[in-house]
């Protein structure tokens, strides 16, 4: 049985923890709003881009001269996994969910006898994967200094991926990130970026139905756009990840705040009971002392 003083200290400490988690929750909520806005503002670009690319890919994709970024190298022996996670922890299962998905994929590829290379974005993913797969690492991108994600950051990451592709270091690249659904749901997602896979445009816009003139030629445009496509995909993944991280942190901190509240209630009851027990004891001592006289 802890003493009254211990209990009191304990309650105080849980109270200050609650204050911190509450503050983190509110900060996350504010950041989440900003991250969601950023993701929303980036959406028109990505959507149009994909629509145009889908149209182009459909018309050029079949030919033998299609760029390697679209048609692939013809092999799928070496896989590059780009694992994007947060720079900070305390956001529930966010980082570990992405890491788990990546780990599953690594195992799956390994059993198929493929070579796996890992490029991590964000410190937490690196830490999580380093333990088992340190030998597979080919690089790491640190975004901890970045205050506000910009397209330039995505371009930097895309550059790293493309340089390796041009050097023939891998055949297939997949990015891992978390798709933001809402504050409580984020879905870890694996998305193949090289060779490029564009979702066909929806029925109503059906890019293929309009015949476009291309200036310069289709293939030049495609060669120009494919690297941008990688950057665009990385950028939207980064933004989704940013929103997911804040969402996950917000709900994790909400839980923590609530747990702290419950704990305080429990401890307070315990504290009151022990206080009463002490008083009762003292009374018994006084009374029995008086009776003995």
């Amino acid at each position: 049985m802890p003493s009254l003083k211990d209990l009191k200290l304990r309650i105080e400490s849980v109270k200050s923890t609650r204050k911190i988690t509450k503050a983190m929750q509110m900060v996350a909520a504010a950041k989440l709003r900003r991250a969601q806005e950023a993701a929303e503002e980036a959406r028109p670009y990505a959507e149009r881009f994909n629509a145009v690319m889908a149209g182009l890919a459909a018309s050029v994709g079949g030919s033998d001269s299609a760029p390697k970024l679209l048609s692939g190298t013809g092999k799928d022996d070496v896989h590059l996994l780009v694992v994007m996670t947060a720079e900070r922890g305390l956001c529930g299962g966010f980082n570990s969910n992405i890491a788990r998905l990546a780990r599953q994929k690594i195992e799956e590829l390994k059993t198929k006898g493929k070579t796996v290379k890992i490029l991590t974005v964000g410190k937490k993913g690196r830490d999580a994967l380093k333990r088992d797969h340190a030998s597979l690492f080919v690089g790491h991108v640190d975004l901890s200094e970045v205050k506000r994600l910009g397209y330039a950051d995505a371009q930097g990451i895309a550059r790293k991926i493309l340089d390796r592709f041009d050097a023939g270091e891998f055949d297939v690249a997949t990015i891992f990130y978390s798709k933001f659904v809402n504050v409580v749901t984020q879905i870890p997602t694996a998305q193949q970026v090289i060779p490029a896979a564009f979702e066909a445009a929806d029925g109503e816009e059906a890019g293929a139905s309009t015949l476009y003139d291309y200036e310069p030629g289709e293939e030049e445009i495609l060669a120009d756009l494919l690297p941008r496509g990688v950057a665009t995909q990385v950028f939207s993944a980064l933004l989704e990840n940013g929103a997911s991280e804040q969402g996950a942190r917000m709900s994790a901190m909400d839980n923590a705040t609530r747990n702290a509240g419950e704990m305080i209630d429990k401890l307070t009851i315990q504290y009151n009971r022990s206080r009463q027990a002490v008083i009762t004891n003292e009374l018994i001592e006084i009374i029995s002392g008086a009776e003995a006289l």
Binding site: A38, E41, A42, P44, Y45, A46, R48, F49, V52, L56, G150, Y151, A154, T210, L211, Y212, D213, Y214, E215, P216, E220, I221, D224, L225, R228, A231, T232, F235
Partner: protein, 138 residues
Amino acid sequence: MADTMQFDLVSPERSLASFQVNAVQIPGADGDMTAMPGHTPVITTLRPGVLKAEGPDGAKEYVVSGGFAEINATGLSVLAEKAIPLNEMTRAHLDELIADARAKHESAKETFKNEPGPVDDAAKLLADMVALGDHIAL
């Protein structure tokens, strides 16, 4: 035929403009062109330059640093890598763009020593950037 069409200018980070226009001058990679309502569907890449959108309420100008434009009969979308309204353009912005292009040129020279293609492209990009600076007279 309608005398206006929908014009959208989007960059990866945000949507910059979306309004009705009569005509848009685009700095296409193969030369400038003006798109008006009812234009043949065209997809063209852009070189760095000034994009001028003439709407019923006057003209608006933007500096774009490359990207591509999708033109069809009813509208025009420009997907620019970087776009800045002309009146917000400053020397600092331009210097940044030029420095960027110069760095690309240098790295192209390094990586593609024996292939003139990419080096020429990068040199052209750099020249375009400098010409852009002269054009808007900063």
